[in-house]
C-alpha cells in the first residue's frame, strides 16, 4: 500500500479530513462502536419518555402528588422520605464502580477477578430490581395503579410505572447479560482470541443504565 493511496490529499489537513481519510472512522472495535450507537438511540427513547412525563405532568387536571410523601418509608416508627430510593441509587452507583473494576482487570486478563466483579455488579443490579419490586408493591398496596392514584393525578401512576418499569427492564437485561459474560469469562471463552472487548462493551451498557437512572431519579423523586 503506497502512502499516496492512504493519504489522498496533499493539501492542508482539516480535522474532518484526517477523520475521513482513515478506513475506520474510530479506532475502536466494531462491537464497541455499535454499542455506542445503540446507546445514543436508546437515549432518544428515554428522552421521549421523560418529555412525555413532563408534558403529562403539565397537562394533568388533578394535582401531582408530593414525591416526599408518596416515596416515604416508615422505619422504626419514623417516617423517612426518599430513604428507599436513596439506598437504591447508592447501590446502582456503587455497581458502576465495581463494573469499572471488572474492566480494569480485563486489561490484565485476570479472569477470576473480572468474573468476580462482574458477578458483584450483577448482584447489585439484582438487588436494585428487587427493591424496585418492593417499592412497586408498596405503592400498589396503597392503591396506586397505572390508571388510578389516590394521592392525586392518575397520570402519576401511569408514567411512574411505565418509566421505572422500562428502566427496570434495562437493569434486568443488564443483570442477565453480565451473568452470561461473567461465566464465559470464567470458562476462559475469551482467551481463545485473547479478546476481552466484550467486558468493556458490557460495561458501557451498564454505565449507561446507571446514568439514565440519575435522570429518572432527579425527575421523578426530586421534582
Amino acid at each position: 500500500m503506497s502512502e499516496q493511496t492512504m493519504n489522498p490529499s496533499g493539501h492542508l489537513h482539516t480535522v474532518a479530513q484526517d477523520w475521513a481519510d482513515e478506513k475506520q472512522a474510530f479506532h475502536v472495535p466494531w462491537g464497541k462502536l455499535m454499542m455506542w450507537i445503540f446507546l445514543i438511540s436508546d437515549t432518544f427513547i428515554f428522552s421521549c419518555f421523560l418529555i412525555g412525563y413532563m408534558n403529562v405532568r403539565m397537562s394533568a387536571t388533578e394535582p401531582w402528588p408530593y414525591a416526599s410523601e408518596v416515596f416515604a418509608l416508615t422505619l422504626f416508627g419514623n417516617n423517612i422520605p426518599l430513604i428507599l430510593i436513596a439506598i437504591m441509587t447508592f447501590i446502582l452507583i456503587t455497581s458502576s464502580g465495581t463494573m469499572a473494576l471488572a474492566v480494569r482487570y480485563a486489561h490484565f486478563r485476570d479472569r477470576k477477578k473480572i468474573a468476580l466483579f462482574m458477578f458483584i455488579t450483577a448482584a447489585f443490579g439484582a438487588s436494585f430490581v428487587g427493591m424496585q419490586a418492593f417499592e412497586w408493591t408498596k405503592l400498589i398496596s396503597e392503591g396506586v395503579r397505572p390508571w388510578a392514584n389516590p394521592f392525586g393525578a392518575p397520570q402519576f401512576g401511569s408514567i411512574f410505572f411505565m418509566v421505572t418499569g422500562f428502566h427496570g427492564l434495562h437493569v434486568s437485561i443488564g443483570v442477565i447479560y453480565l451473568s452470561i459474560v461473567a461465566s464465559k469469562v470464567l470458562k476462559g471463552d475469551y482467551d481463545k482470541k485473547n479478546n476481552y472487548d466484550i467486558v468493556e462493551i458490557t460495561g458501557l451498557y451498564w454505565h449507561f443504565v446507571d446514568l439514565v437512572w440519575v435522570f429518572i431519579f432527579a425527575f421523578f423523586y426530586l421534582w
Binding site: 475506520q24 472512522a25 474510530f26 466494531w30 450507537i37 432518544f44 397537562s59 392518575p154 401511569s158 411505565m162
Partner: protein, 592 residues
Amino acid sequence: MAYIPIADQPSELHDPHSFITKYVWSQDHKVIAIQYACTAIFVGLIALVLSGMMRLQLGYPDTFSFIDPSNYYQFVTMHGMIMVIYLLTALFLGGFGNYLIPLQIGARDMVFPYLNMLSYWFYLLSVLILLASFFVVGGPTGAGWTLYPPQAILRGTPGADMGIVLMLVSLAVFIVAFTMGGLNYVTTVLQARTHGMTLMRMPLSVWGIFVATILGLFAFPALFVSAVMMAFDKLIGTSFFMPAIQSLGQDLGYAGGSPILFQHLFWFFGHPEVYIVALPAFGLVSDVLSTHARKNIFGYRMMVWAIVIIGALSFIVWAHHMYVSGMNPYFGFFFAFTTLIIAVPTAIKVYNWVLTLWQGNIRLTVPMLFAMGFIFTFIHGGLTGIFLGNVTVDLPLSDTYFVVAHFHMVMGVSPIMVLFAAIYHWFPKISGKMFNVTLGKIHFWATFLGTYAIYLPMHYLGFLGVPRRYYALGNTDFIPDSAMALNANITQAAIFVGIMQLVFIINIIWSLKSGPKAESNPWDATSLEWQTPDTPPVHGNWGPKLPVVYRWAYEYAVPGVKDDFVPQSVPPEEVEMEEGAGKYVDRSEEHH
C-alpha cells in the same frame, strides 16, 4: 505494535454449507437484501391493491357494495402505513442498504452478520403481525396512518379492538428489526471500508443510506414511545393521550391526557421518516444519473454535505404537520422558517442533478429513464411543499387532496421512481441476468405518465376544497360535477398504473428464468460492486483479496483515457491511455 483495523484481520467468514443456511437462515448480506426486497415488494403490492379499491370507491361511489365506509378507512390506513414503513423504508434500507453497503465500500459483509439475519426475521414477523390484523375480529385499524388519538382507540373507529393493537405491536417489532439492521449499516460504513475508501470517496448511494439510517436510529424511538404509550391507553386504561371523553352519554374513564403530545411524538418521527425514504433515493439516483450520463456527479462534496444538512434539519421541522392542530404563533413561524430552509440544500441537489446531465453523453437506458422521471416528479412535489410549508397557505389546503397530491408526488412517486431505477440498474449484478428492455420502457412510460394523470388533477381537487380521507362526497355544493368526473378519470389512470406494474413483475420473473446472461459491468460503471470477480457476487464478495480504492466513484469521460471511465479500484499506472494522450491525471483529487 501498529494498530491493525479489524477489516484487515483474517476473520473466519462463516461459509454456508446447506441449502437452509445459504438461502433461508442466511447471514450473507446479499441474500438478506433479497429477502428484504421480496417481502417488501410483496406487501407493497397489497398496498397497491388497497389503493385501487379506494380509487374504485372514489371514482364510482355507490357502485361497489363490498366497500363500506369502515373498509375505506381501513384501506386508507393500511395503504399509507404499508407504503411508508413496510415497503419504502424496508426496501431502501433493508434491501438496498444491505446489498450495496458492503459491496460499494469493499467489505466482505456487514460487521455483524448474525444480527443482520435477525433483523430480517424480525421484519418478517412485523409484516406477519400487520397482515394478521386483516383476519381478526373488527379487522385492521382505520385510524389513518397517523394513528391520532383519541379516535384511534375509541369505538367508532374501525379496528379499535384488535386492529390497532396489532398495528402498534407490529410497529414496535419493526423498530426492533430496523435497529438491529441499522446498527450494522452505520458501523459497517464507519469501520469496515477497504483500503483507500475514505468517507469522501464513497458513492452517494452509501452516503444517502448511511445518513438515512442514522435518522432512523434517532427518529424511530419517538414512534416506539408513542406506540407503547398508546398501547397502555388502549389496554390498561392509562390516560397519556386521552382527555376526558363522553361517549353516548357514558364517561369513558379517561381524563387529563394530551392528544397533542402524541402528535408531537408522532411527527418527531414522521418528518425524519420522509427523509429516511428520501435520502437513500437521493443517493441511489445520483449514482444512476452519473453512470448513464457518463459524467461525474456535479459537486460531489456539496451533494454529501446537502445530505448531511438535510438530515440534521429534518429533526426541527416536524410541527409543520400540525399547523391546524393549534400552536403558539411563534412556533408556527419557527417551523415554517426551518421548513423553508430545508428547501435550500434540497434545491442544490436538484440543480446538481440537472448539471450532471448537462452536456452529458446520456444513454437512455431503462434505469436512466426512471432516474430522469424522478427529477420531474421530485421538483413537482417539492414545489407544492413550499406552498404547504407556509402556515397561512397550509391552513386552507390542509386535509384536502392538495396534500394528498403533494405527498404522493414527493414521497410516493419520486422514491418509487428511484426504486425502479435502482432495481433495473442493479438487477444485472444481483441476478446475473439482463432484463427485457422493451418491457422496461413500457413499464416506465406507463408509470411516469400514469402517475401524472393520477396526481395532477388532485391538486385541482384540493384547491376546490375536496377533503382527504372521505369515503364519499355526497351532494356537496362546493364540489362541482366536473370534479366527480375528474375523480372517475383519476381512478381509470390509477387502475391502469396498477395493472402496468404487472409488466415489471413479469419482466423480473421472465428475466430471472430466461433472460440473457449479464456482463459483470454492463453499464461501464466505476464503483466497486461492478468490479467483483463473480457476477452475481459470491459469499465473501471479493475472492482472496479485498479491492484497493484509488479515487472517487465518478471518474467518467476522462480526457485521454481509452475507455470513458476508470473504476475506483484500478491503480493509476494501469489506466490505459489513448495514443499521445500523456499520463493519466487523477481528477478526483482536484475536487477536494
